[in-house]
Symmetry: C2
Subunit: 357 residues, 2 copies
């Protein structure tokens, strides 16, 4: 039942990928536990420095002999609009005072991001990481060629049919099909974020009709029901974020895990307030108070850097109101379990459901 094109390509038992959530969630323990359970653990390396990434890889390798992957963010050029910068600084100043945040952000530059990206790529190659996925765009033909020469399996991200086709044409080996249900950042890189919020019930079959490479459904999938449903719609595998975020081994803050466990599906909202890029998370004071400024904020990654200290301070004092509580639309299904137990349950549930259909 489980073996298919994707499991063969990734050399895994179950087509279940742990989403490469950035920001410390994908602890080596989580990544290794998922890979050891027959799924694919992924390191969310988007925000990692080269040294952090090297350390993470070696820690994962100490905990598993199975394949694992790494996700990188494609840097994009951005313009620093000082008017917008000043606006957002003024808006968030009261939050900084409330949380006693003194530090001033160091603003990122495209050149800096690009140089980090290339260092990250070199580590992926040197360390012979078997799988590398990308978010927020497509790597250049040169990068793709280099990784392919090193037999690294490449996975892209798409939120529309057009983006899926672009991934296939660029030579990706598989593509994550991110539905509107998905938690965290939207992977949209072509066209408007608002017009790229397609539910998986619509997105998977339309993508499946348009491309041939394996399609990995992502968004709201938390259990065996979602896996079999995704398969019916044309997906080759699934990627699950929120379901693994609440797992015991995940590095997510306990406040974040608890917020998901307590949330209902309509408390999960879309916001640009934290990073300048649209993302889905549990509604809180920061999102609510920033709502009216949303269209005037600096773009990603500027806004992301500007709010970083607030989010950190909020977590440090144990108040979730200013944290980015990323979650997909199925929080009611979330369960705090060891990752191995979660994978086992999902697999059993899927197998039982398939027989009953």
């Amino acid at each position: 039942m489980w073996e298919n094109e994707l499991t063969r390509e990734l050399k895994i038992k179950y087509p279940i990928i742990q989403a490469p959530m950035a920001g410390g969630i994908t602890s080596p323990e989580l990544v290794a536990a998922v890979s050891n359970s027959g799924g694919l653990g992924m390191i969310g390396a988007g925000y990692m420095s080269p040294s952090q990434l090297r350390k993470q890889i070696s820690e994962v390798r100490r905990l598993t002999d199975y394949p694992f992957g790494i996700n990188l963010f494609i840097p994009s050029e951005f313009r620093v609009d000082s008017e917008k910068l000043n606006l957002t600084k003024a808006i968030i100043q009261p939050f900084k005072e409330e949380l006693v945040v003194k530090e001033e952000p160091i603003l990122p530059t495209y050149e800096g991001d690009l140089s980090t990206f290339h260092e990250q790529l070199s580590i992926v190659v040197e360390e012979k990481v078997p799988i590398c996925s990308f978010t927020f765009g497509l790597p250049s033909p040169e990068v793709i060629a280099r990784l392919k020469e090193n037999s690294i399996v490449l996975i892209g991200t798409a939120t529309t049919v057009q983006e899926a086709i672009m991934n296939e044409n660029a030579g990706m080996d598989a593509v994550v099909v991110q539905g509107s249900e998905a938690g965290g950042h939207r992977g949209t890189f072509q066209g408007e974020e608002k017009q790229s919020l397609i539910g998986l019930m619509s997105l998977i079959p339309q993508v499946a009709d348009a491309i041939r490479i394996p399609k990995i459904a992502a968004g709201g999938i938390m259990d065996g029901r979602g896996i079999i449903a995704a398969k019916c719609l044309g997906a080759t595998g699934v990627q699950m974020g929120t379901a693994f975020l609440v797992c015991e081994e995940s590095g997510a803050n306990i406040l974040h895990k608890n917020a998901i466990i307590k949330a209902s599906e309509n408390q999960v909202v879309l916001t640009k307030a934290f990073s300048g890029k649209m993302a889905r998370g549990i509604n809180n004071r920061f999102i609510t108070e920033m709502r009216r400024y949303e269209e005037e904020l600096p773009v990603y990654p500027l806004q992301n850097e500007l709010t970083k200290a607030i989010r950190k301070a909020s977590a440090a004092i144990g108040i979730p109101e200013y944290m980015s509580l990323w979650s997909g639309q199925s929080p009611r299904i979330a369960k705090k379990l060891p990752a191995r137990e979660l994978v086992k349950r999902i697999v059993t549930e899927a197998e039982t459901l398939r027989v009953k259909l």
Copy 2:
């Protein structure tokens, strides 16, 4: 494979319901063709006068001996804000001039809507229509009791888990679970429309965990893949709108059908511009030009009445730019077929898929 609690209750062969799209789409030919094919045809009676409704029922009865249903809109109280009325009148005046629309709208009142609703209900009872579904709210306990005494099967609409529970508690026999993928108006009646846009991959399993009555999945389902996927997620049946809208027998304007056939999934957007209530349709000039005023428009049904003549005139001169081109998020899967042929294809596809899983 097909018989279940819902097919037994509705006395149909396949748990496939044709969505009760209002505004002349559900022609007697379409409703009868769906019922004759083993699904459930539904009359979208929301905007129908009592005499139109009687006529429609008798025409459907002439074309089928199988069960069919009727959908009614629950009237809700609204406040006439003359400032907003004047604003929208001013905004749409240029469109009226462009389309040479002279007629002035007659504004609806809550009392008028309520009286029409009660007349519609009386017709449903007198004509012994076997199934009655509701959108935009819950009928009163008195209405529910009256319909139940007459052995009419009652179906509600929910866009969140909470609304689904409210439907079950009110005594509905089944509930349509409307995902964010769905075309046309959002059925949200509790809480904010924007926070009630849940993709079916998330919504169905969370509703299935919360209520016992049959769940009818609606939104983006167009073929056998969607039906089996919905079933995996916990749905008892499906309701399909866009898929039937483009069918040969549908009363939808040919411009509307063609717009769907040509559209891609990310051209389908949410708008309040046509009616004051959030709805999903294909982007056009009217939606684009009204975008910036969206939060300042009069509420439903006022805005609906104010834009009616524009939409009608747009259709009359053969330009789809000012029409409400309702569509779900899967337009790429739409096919112009006779309804009987569509049902047959879907059933065969679902049966084949189930065996292959």
